[in-house]
């Protein structure tokens, strides 16, 4: 039986469950459905991979210099993997990329927002800044973690760290086909792949000397 909804907008627990049961929406693994599925959202957990930047060796990230940008990103990022029950310590003013533990697959008629949990917000943890997930997206969700508090925070894999709020679209749309599709861990920016970059910021004569 297909899911039929007359109302558009944020979908509720009943509809989320329906989507999950029909395998249209996949959130895998759902370690504890009772706790994770809220009234109008699904809690997602923190994964065990993080990307940090070796800032001390990196001078600047300039989107104009695409080749160097790509190299800098490859060279100066470090992937850290921790085990179940082990902590990742996020220091004040530190920014790292994390990922959701869950692998998410959205149908073509749903989009989602990643929203922080207030319990973490009150401790100074900012979860995500770019929060939109396109319809048809498949993969883990990269979280932009920042500690804006004054004390270091210990983060453990599997903690419920953010929540997904789903919105129903007025009609089915084309599926997401961007560079972050089927990602299985946090992914650093691939902004150098933006097709319009060469003509939005053309290279000046002086740039070649850099």
């Amino acid at each position: 039986m297909d899911v039929e909804f007359n109302n558009l907008g944020v979908i509720s627990k009943k509809e989320i469950t329906e989507y999950l049961n029909q395998k249209k929406l996949i959130i895998s693994p759902m370690l504890d459905a009772e706790i994770q599925i809220g009234r109008c959202s699904v809690d997602i957990r923190l994964g065990n991979e993080f990307i940090t930047t070796k800032e001390t060796q990196l001078s600047v990230l300039d989107v104009r210099d695409r080749e160097n940008l790509k190299n800098n990103i490859m060279q100066y990022q470090e992937k850290i993997r921790i085990g179940y029950g082990e902590p990742f310590i996020l220091h004040p003013r530190e920014f790292v990329l994390g990922a959701s533990l869950e692998y998410v697959s959205l149908p073509l008629d749903l989009m989602a927002y990643v929203v922080g949990r207030s319990s973490w917000g009150r401790l100074g943890l900012v979860i995500a800044t770019a929060t939109l997930i396109d319809p048809g997206f498949k993969g883990v969700i990269t979280l932009e973690l920042a500690n804006i508090g004054k004390v270091p925070l210990k983060l453990y894999p599997c903690l419920r760290i953010a929540q997904l709020v789903f919105h129903k679209l007025s009609s089915e749309t084309e599926g997401y086909s961007g560079q972050y599709l089927t990602s299985t861990g946090p992914k650093f920016s691939e902004i150098y792949d933006d097709k319009e970059l060469p003509y939005i910021i053309p290279k000046g004569k002086n740039d070649t000397q850099k």
Binding site: S28, P29, N48, R81, Y103, S105, K138, P157, T184
Partner: protein
């Protein structure tokens, strides 16, 4: 933290074996302490091992001190001095081996291994080999290997004869396997399945399936009965012939006595070679059979991929059976399983999927045959003789191991439960088609406490079948639809490579998630029962 070195370095020449042995042993102790303090490895086994290695190193230091004291005595003659120095050198070698072991333990760190792969392999090993401590590590050398660390530690202890270490070694048990995989293929999960062959060696060692004591009589009988005995005589003649030809080439004048000597030498060399090869062939083929039994058809595909480069090689490949014989043997065994153990029951499994595996296997066999018939450049006289000798030796070995292998298959069937390619595998393939991570427990409405454990065999089989039947079929001409896209070879390579990498990542994620799933539900269950009690 630096260890307080308790020897006076000034007393020794910097190049003396005593000095080097002391330095290496003390730095080993330092490193062991560091590793213990850091707790880099989350596994229990390595920690136990660190304890034994620490005691063993201390034993080595005591032994070096004792030997050094003996050296300083005036009554030691030149001969005795040399013997003592040699023993110190042997201890130095042992300490160096322990240094290597330490690197292996260090390599078990999570960051050096594919996420979540170690635990499922451990589960699989424990299912068939019992409760064991295991180290799975990447190695620089492009190889997959197995050996038992306890055997080597015991050998080291035999040199220093330390009672304390002996007691600790007894606690570890008889086996502490180290399984190594090619570091280069760290994230190429589909090739990790070769580890099943190494697990086969472990199971064989524990259960003594291929031991020569069991099969020796049969082997001798075969060797003494025609046609094998005739082939054997021909092999000896050929060996003599090769040696003579070689000597003539070197323009040496062969005398009658010298001829007899050559004959004797060549025969005895051929005999030693034959015995060594029989042992290795039995061990390797047994490990292959066990691998097919515990992991299923995907082992054959992985074996083919890793041996691909060697298939066309007609010369001797060490003591190992040639790849084509190994692969054919695996396929043959898998086919017998197909019938006897209802490996594929058409009523319960997706027959299309089964059919495509069979087609793939047939394709592989054709590939092997084609490579065999490939024309090679004109060989020299010696090359011709060597090739003839190699082919004859291979024929003999095939005849000799035939009987033992059939009884080995029977004993494997008695003691090892076969892997079932159930409908779960085909469900996982469906998930991969949709680019969803193949988590084993996903979609099953089961209580979290009875949720199936992460079944690495099912996930890897599903991935192989998916790769072979859905992803590989994009070659030009096969489907007819993608010909334009993959017109050039480079494009074809890219079209193969990218989905393979993507699938590998999806599998890894699937395995990792299943592992987290299991740990989470275990802890939750434990927490619930503690609260209830």
């Amino acid at each position: 933290m630096a260890y307080s070195w308790k020897f006076k370095a000034d007393q020794f020449s910097k190049t003396s074996p005593t000095y080097v042995a002391y330095c290496r042993a003390f730095s080993l102790l330092d490193k062991i302490r560091e590793l213990k303090a850091e707790k880099k490895s989350s596994l229990e086994g390595p920690e136990k091992l660190l304890g034994v290695m620490s005691t063993l190193t201390e034993g080595c230091i005591r032994k070096i001190t004792k030997l050094d004291n003996e050296l300083s005595l005036n009554r030691v003659n030149l001969m005795q001095r040399k013997n003592i120095e040699n023993t110190i050198r042997t201890i130095l070698l042992s300490v160096n081996i322990l240094h290597a072991f330490l690197r292996y333990i260090d390599a078990t760190r999570l960051s050096r291994n594919p996420t979540g792969m170690i635990k499922p392999w451990e589960l699989l090993i424990r299912k068939y080999g019992g409760e064991l401590n295991i180290i799975i590590r990447p190695q620089w050398k492009y190889n997959y290997s197995y050996y038992n660390m306890v055997t080597i530690l015991k050998k080291i202890n035999d040199i220093i004869r330390d009672q304390e270490t002996e007691l600790e070694l007894q606690e570890i048990g008889l086996y502490f396997p180290i399984l190594s995989f090619a570091g280069l293929e760290r994230d190429n999960v589909l090739l990790h399945i070769i580890l099943a062959h190494e697990i086969g060696h472990l199971i064989d060692e524990i259960r003594k399936i291929s031991s020569l004591e069991k099969h020796g009589d049969k082997i001798i009988e075969t060797l003494n009965t025609p046609p094998v005995s005739d082939k054997l005589n021909r092999l000896y003649d050929l060996s003599v012939n090769i040696m003579k030809t070689l000597k003539t080439k070197l323009q040496e004048t062969p005398g009658v006595t010298y001829e007899l000597f050559i004959e004797h030498e060549a025969k005895s060399e051929a005999q030693t070679e034959l015995v060594n090869k029989i042992i290795t062939w039995l061990e390797e083929i047994t490990a292959d059979i066990i691998a097919v039994r515990i992991i299923g058809p995907s082992f054959i595909f992985a074996l083919y991929q890793t041996q691909l480069a060697q298939v066309s090689k007609m010369g001797p490949a060490g003591d190992y059976p040639p790849p084509q014989i190994r692969i054919e043997n695996c396929i043959e065994y898998w086919n017998t399983l197909d019938k006897e153990d209802k490996f594929f029951d058409p009523k319960t499994t997706d027959t299309d999927g089964c059919q495509s595996i069979k087609e793939c296997v047939r394709k592989y066999l054709d590939d092997i045959k084609q490579k065999e018939t490939e024309t090679l450049p004109e060989p020299s006289v010696i090359d011709k003789l060597q090739k003839e000798r190699y082919n004859l030796l291979t024929e003999i070995l095939v005849d000799v191991v035939k009987n033992p292998i059939s009884s080995i298959k029977e004993s494997i069937a008695r003691c090892i439960e076969p892997f079932k390619l159930d409908d779960g595998v085909f469900r996982l393939i469906e998930l991969l088609k949709d680019r969803i991570t193949p988590v084993r427990s996903e979609g099953k409405k089961v209580d979290s406490s009875t949720r199936p454990e992460c079944d690495i065999a099912s996930i890897l089989n599903a991935s192989w079948i998916f790769w072979l039947t859905h992803e590989r079929d994009i070659a030009p001409g096969e489907e007819g639809t993608k010909t334009e896209e993959v017109a050039s070879l480079d494009k074809l390579r890219i079209s193969y490579y990218e989905p393979l990498v993507e699938i590998s990542h999806l599998i890894l994620k699937g395995i990792e998630l299943a592992d987290f799933d299991k740990q989470f539900s275990d802890l939750k269950q434990r927490h619930k029962s503690t609260r209830n009690s």
